[in-house]
């Protein structure tokens, strides 16, 4: 087990290394960072001053070591617009993102699990077809369009909910629904197929043969086991939700890290954009590592095979 964990951690570190090199190189390949950092009308002397100040006059390997060294100590450079460290900005905005993602995750699990189970239990019947249609719509509908439609219906037409911003619980409703759309469909599909797998298994047949009531078989034997892959996917999706919310956050002016990223683009605030993308990648790698290790811990076959 220790060997397995060490190996997985090693692979994750390699991924992190490649990730940082990718972002570092892309910035330098696509242009001089000094021109991104300076005002559009900056003179050559100003650019030189910026290069010296940010260490851009050094060779690439030296710059990379500095970049990683800083990042490891939590120093991601200073925001050009806000004039405070980009890392600080990130931590300030993260709670809003977490709140939105948690709300969207709750919706997607409640709807996804219940419709998914109903579809699996009534496979081939009305509920199943309805579930398939909802899943297909959810996977095809762009989240920002869903958000705009919600704003029109609930805010402009019915005046029930505020159009944008963060504050009361009412502010959270529409962005959470818009963000959850795609994930609800994904959770629904997985719950259905996982539930169908379990319902066809030997131990469920045995439970039925023993004469247990169907509801008991579903709740006690089938549901619990069908839940494992869904919970895994949900864990990874939670991390994804935090990092793909940029469009939804822009539609609803929700002050999370997605909005921070978008503002970073508008103000050409390069250190901020870089920080959000890099930390997003780190989050996904750590989440994948956690899932791998947890799975190996639960199921010895996985760690013995590799």
């Amino acid at each position: 087990m220790t060997r397995f964990i060490l190996k997985r951690c090693g692979l994750a570190l390699v991924s992190l290394f490649i990730l940082s090199v990718t972002i570092f190189t892309l910035i330098r390949l696509t242009g001089d960072p000094a021109t991104l950092l300076a005002a559009p009308d900056a003179k050559e002397a100003d650019l030189d001053a910026i290069r010296v100040r940010f260490g851009l006059d050094r060779s690439w390997p030296v710059q990379y070591v500095r970049f990683v060294g800083g990042a490891l100590q939590g120093d991601f450079g200073t925001s050009l617009y806000y004039r405070i460290p980009a890392g600080t900005l990130y931590w300030q905005r993260l709670p809003a993102s977490l709140q939105l993602a948690a709300a969207a995750m709750t919706i997607s699990l409640v709807v996804g699990l219940s419709v998914g189970i109903l579809a699996a239990v009534n496979v081939g019947r009305w509920w199943d077809s309805a579930g398939k249609l909802i899943a297909l719509l959810g996977l095809s509908m762009p989240s920002f369009w869903l958000g705009l439609l919600l704003i029109y219906f609930f805010a402009v037409y019915l005046h029930w909910l505020p159009t944008s911003g963060r504050g009361t619980a009412a502010h959270l409703v529409m962005p959470a629904i818009a963000l959850s759309g795609y994930f609800t469909a994904a959770h629904m599909r997985l719950t259905r197929s996982s539930m169908l797998d379990v319902l066809g298994s030997e131990y469920v047949k045995l439970a039925r043969l023993k004469g247990l009531p169907e509801s008991w078989v579903l709740v006690k034997h089938a549901f619990k086991n069908a839940l494992i892959p869904v919970v895994t996917l949900a864990g990874i999706n939670l991390v994804l939700m935090i990092n793909v919310a940029v469009v939804v956050e822009t539609v609803f002016a929700w002050p999370g890290i997605g909005r921070l990223l978008f503002e970073g683009i508008e103000f050409r605030d390069f250190p901020v954009v870089q920080t959000v993308v890099l930390l997003g990648g780190v989050m996904v790698i750590v989440a994948n590592l956690t899932v791998d290790v947890l799975y190996a811990w639960i199921d010895p076959r996985i760690r013995l095979k590799s």
Binding site: I18, W145, V277
Partner: protein, 304 residues
């Protein structure tokens, strides 16, 4: 499906020419074509190809005296701006038709480029194995970890807004999906007898990859492409919506949604409704086609 191949003679020919198997499967499946999907995609294709002829107005030219005209069937509407006009008085229908051109072109090109690149890399990685495989797969892992939309935005800011750049960015992001799946298939394909025989017969490594491996993974690539086209179209719309995709003023669906937002707050819903509906229908059609192809071409992928 193996059951649909009638005689043993044709079975032998399909082993020699896997391509003919592909077409036989497509023909066999033509009986229950996904009508809805093909209709929507056909309509979008017609709109994209003949937008110049079909569009009643110039998509980029507005008339400020005709701002926010409602669609024909709404009170105060007229048959001429059939789907109404936007905040600059531009015809929504004309912009929708020209928007199909941008969406389909970007979506299709990016998916094909990503598919070609990812398939090639996946085959090389899977067939060569050892350190080549290690290096390629570590890069793929790292790129897969990047959150798609923020990474795309990051690259779009670096490269600047244009359709060409969007294609490069999205292809650069999505090739990893193909590489991962194709590599997995190649790992099992290269243990097959016909590959070993080809090695014994003295075939060059590249010849084996091209003649014996590629035809056997092409189905998977086609299925993946049909699923990724939809994702790419939504991603393009999202980038355009955020202002880092297709340059402003052009009639892209994502840009139309961004343009329509202000007006929607004042009740002009049609500028927002139609482009989003167009995106959703095209993506829905692509997904349906993908599901159908998956069942027809590659039964192993049904769980994908």
């Amino acid at each position: 499906m193996p059951g649909s191949i009638p005689a043993s003679a044709s079975r032998a020919s399909t082993l020699l020419y896997p391509w003919s198997l592909t077409w036989r499967r497509v023909r066999a499946g033509a009986r229950n074509l996904p009508v809805v999907s093909l209709t929507i995609l056909g309509a979008a294709l017609v709109a994209a190809l003949f937008a110049d002829v079909l569009a009643p107005h110039d998509p980029e030219l507005g008339n400020l005296r005709h701002r926010h005209r409602p669609p024909a069937w709404v009170a105060g509407g007229d048959a001429n701006p059939l789907l109404g006009t936007d905040h600059l008085g531009r015809d929504v229908l004309s912009r929708l038709l020209f928007g199909a051109r941008i969406s389909l072109l970007v979506g299709f090109t990016a998916a094909v480029v990503a598919g070609a690149l990812g398939t090639a890399v996946g085959i090389i990685s899977g067939y060569c194995g050892r350190w080549v495989d290690q290096v390629i797969m570590r890069v793929v892992d790292a790129w897969l970890a990047l959150p798609v939309i923020s990474f795309a935005i990051f690259l779009a800011v670096l490269l600047g807004p244009s359709e060409m750049n969007i294609v490069i960015i999205l292809a650069g992001i999505f090739w990893t999906r193909y590489a991962r799946v194709i590599r997995g298939e190649v790992l099992s394909l290269k243990e097959r007898d016909y590959v070993r025989l080809a090695i014994v017969a003295g075939c060059n490594k590249w010849t084996i990859m091209r003649r014996h491996i590629l035809p056997n993974v092409i189905n998977t690539s086609i299925v993946l492409s049909s699923l990724i086209v939809g994702v790419v179209i939504v991603a393009e719309a999202a980038l355009s919506f955020l202002g880092v995709g297709v340059p402003p003023r052009k009639p892209a669906w994502g840009l139309m949604l961004a343009d329509g937002k202000e007006g929607m707050m004042a009740g002009y819903w049609w500028v927002t409704l139609f482009p989003g509906l167009a995106i959703m229908l095209v993506v829905l059609a692509a997904n349906l086609l993908g599901d159908w192809l998956r069942v027809k071409l590659d039964p192993q992928l049904r769980q994908l």
